[in-house]
């Protein structure tokens, strides 16, 4: 099944969402992404990517009450869909194949 192409930043965000499991919401995604990207990540970029990922149906979102926001306000949670996970795995396999080709060239 051919999926929509995933940009580098979108991949990062999707990975962060998947990594956070049940705790994926705006703030936590931003913090994890910035930690692993090694450079500042703006909130707007995170939201825009989450939007696009939702349009591509790789991510779903819903509102949940409670949480560690001040005042226990409701927040929007995100989670990767099955298609999203598949897309991530496809990319991972692609990269691994490429690296194997590089290795075999070096050894040859």
């Amino acid at each position: 099944m051919k999926s929509s192409p995933l940009g580098g930043f979108e991949e990062l965000i999707l990975l962060a969402v998947e990594a956070l499991g049940n705790e994926a919401y705006g703030v936590s995604v931003q913090e994890l992404a910035e930690e692993h990207a090694g450079r500042p990540v703006s909130l707007g970029a995170v939201y825009a990517s989450l939007d696009r990922l939702e349009n591509k149906r790789y991510v779903k979102s819903w509102i949940e009450a409670g949480g560690d926001y001040r005042g226990g306000r409701s927040r929007r949670h995100f989670a990767a869909t099955a298609e999203g996970r598949t897309a991530l795995l496809e990319i991972k396999h692609q990269r691994e194949r490429m690296w194997r080709a590089i290795e075999s060239r070096r050894n040859a």
Binding site: Y25, G26, G44, Y47, D51, R52
Partner: protein
Amino acid sequence: MKLIRRLFLGDRGDEAIADARELYRRRAAKGSRAGARIRFALDVLSIVVLGLRSRLVTGIVADVRYAVRMLRKAPTFAAAAIIILALGIGANTAIFTVVNAILLTPIPSDQPGVVGIYSREIDRPDYRLFSFADYQHIRDARAPFPDVFAYAVSRVGITEGDDTRRAMAVIATSNYFSLLGTRLALGREFTADEERPGSNIRVAIASHHYWQRRSGRADILGVNVRINGQDYTVVGVAPDGFTGTMALMAPDFFLPTGVYEQVSDDLFRQKREQRLADPTVRTVMLVGRLPHGLTTEAAAPALSALSARLAEVDPAENSKHTLVVQELPRLAISTNPATNEGPVALSALLMASASLVLLLACLNLANMLLARGSTRSREIAVRVAIGGGRLRIIRQLLVESLLLSLLGGVAGLIIAMGATDLFMASARNALPIGLVVHGTPDYRVLMATLVFCVFSTVAAGLGPAWRASRPDLLTDLKDHPAMAIGLRRWSVRNALVVSQLAVCLTLLVSGGLFVRGASAAANMDLGFDTSAGILVGVDPGLIGYSELQSRRVMGRLMERLRRLPGIEDASFGSIVPFGDEHDGRPVQRVTSAADVGVVGATYTIIGARYFATLGVPVLRGREFSPAEEAQQTGAPVVVIDQPLASELFGDANPIGERIRFARAENNGGEMEVIGVVGPVRNSVTDVTPQPHVYVPYGQQFISQQYMHLRAYDTLRTDALLAAVRQAVADVDPVLPILRVKTLSDFRRSSLQVWVFAAGARIFSGFGLVAFVLAVVGVYGLKAYVVSRRTREIAIRLALGATNRGVLLMIVREGIALTAVGLVAGLAAALGMARVLSSLLYGVSPTDPVVFVGAMATLGIAALVASYLPARRATKLAPAAALRAD
């Protein structure tokens, strides 16, 4: 406020802002507060900008998909809209392509600092050409011009095989290309040796289009070209698109000043024996480059210093003149400084008229979109009901209009390219020199087309989108919105149609005036008889004949042609009346009075029996005799025409009086007037014929001559052409024949007639497109209105109204509409005619035939367009109409 928040932050804006606050809290707790504040600001900024962009992009992508779907569901509407837009945008793109080539495309002389240098009399605005010595002084002075080149323009004969054709050439010094910042495509520029006057080193640089036509390969260098009967070696090729100092028109060849005497044509010089090196010979024009940053004003002191230097060096020649600089005009080469005013004004007029056509198309489209908006009112009402924002809906409708505009723009671009190709082909036939126009549209044309598309979208689409997005939910969700037509909607649509009619009438009137003007130009009384004439143009100078050889050949030609069967009379003249060449001399009486008036007259060198051959009446005195045609017999003689006689002598009899050419060398010899002939018109703009002066061939010499033959039988002129050509070939097989035509053909294909015909074609094209659009607009409106009122009509019929009554009711509204439209249009058309009046010759700007004709045509068509839908409605059986909808 809420709308703005939603607009900028999107649906999740509140959540995003809350998250930004949370992040701020966490960062402030962990690190510096100032840093956290900065990041908070950046986060909010990124939410707005990236959020907006992301939503906009996905939103627009979705809108485009939706628009495509909607348009596919209504293919006839889409096709009609695209065609209408294609016509409007195409007209504008076509005109813009020409305007671009004439005014906007950068040409070498656009470069900063490149100016024309002119020599002006100190107390009068009279200009003259420079001598080569002048050029050298100005160049050597190095101030204010670090670089100057001298050039002249000439027509030369290029012999390829057995044929010799006339082409334009530029004769220039070696720095011509470098000053204009141009690198040759192949080969090299002229050397200092080659540019030295009299050096006669026969080399040439070919133009790009000549090279392409000839071979297109690098082996052109070293090849010989036969110019004016001699071989020239090609040493270089100019780059593609290079047109020298003018826009659009390119010479075939560039030649060095060293060969000036061999290739300069006689129209700009008096005697063939003149040498360029002679300081009294003034035949070149100068172009200089001012140093970087020096304006023409700032250069003035250096310029006057230079003028003073020149006066010192050669007081006899230069003391009464001063130097003037001005930027080079794009479409002219002349001794006097000229501006681009003419082309700019013409371009503005053409673009304004084309914009009217586009406006008409947009009005039409707006009406169609309004109607469509009404029919889609239910779909839109549903979208509003489930919460789609109004802005969102407007955006989607605009995207639909933009899509239509872009498709129309693409179609229009194709139409425009075809139209300009045709126009250029027709222009190439009429103009004597090569035209260089890009085959494919350059980026300016594409940008302009895009602008037209966007303009159309906004003009046609914004209003209807606004209106459509404001639905009246209750009525629109109902099944039968037919009853809900408010009076207000009608008047907007009616206003649009009235505007269309007005604009259309304006364009029809303009078209009509130009058509009449063109036909007046084509049918003017020229003062001579074109019905039985044959014209043969020859130029012995093009194959290098000397004056003596030329005279001999002309004598033999005349003898042969006068004896040709079917020819009643034959003569020749240096220019053709109503042709595209002009040569004028200032003429004055010879008297002892101090203050003698000077009259500028058209100057022609003619043979014997010239006036009899052309059918111009001899009013007093006589024509030149065959003896006077062959050589000078005694004192110089001259023939003048009636207008010149009146200006110089009033009512007195000029026969026996003496006149001379003013300001010629030694103020010109005196000539005795031996004849007065009838007036002749030289150009369409000669409302009153201009004065003419004629001298015999025996007295003056010009190589190029046009032979006029008068046939006995006007019907056989075409058949005689072959015999004439054969006769010329018999006398001298290598003599280049420039043209052989019947005089009426020549007149029809003259440049001026072509210009007027082109103008007529363009404006009547606009008028035709406008007519179609306006009539379709009226029909569309009526058809729509009638379809909405089908129930009402059916009820009326069922209740006993007659077909006729219903028809009248509907048509009555159409009449009112048409009348208002025509009246408004009349006012606009009169205004337009006044603007055009300076371009119209031979036709009054309030010509009643054109106005009445245009109003009648449009009025009748509009009425018929109103009547047809009404008629169809009354044909429906009332019961069916009541049920349908």
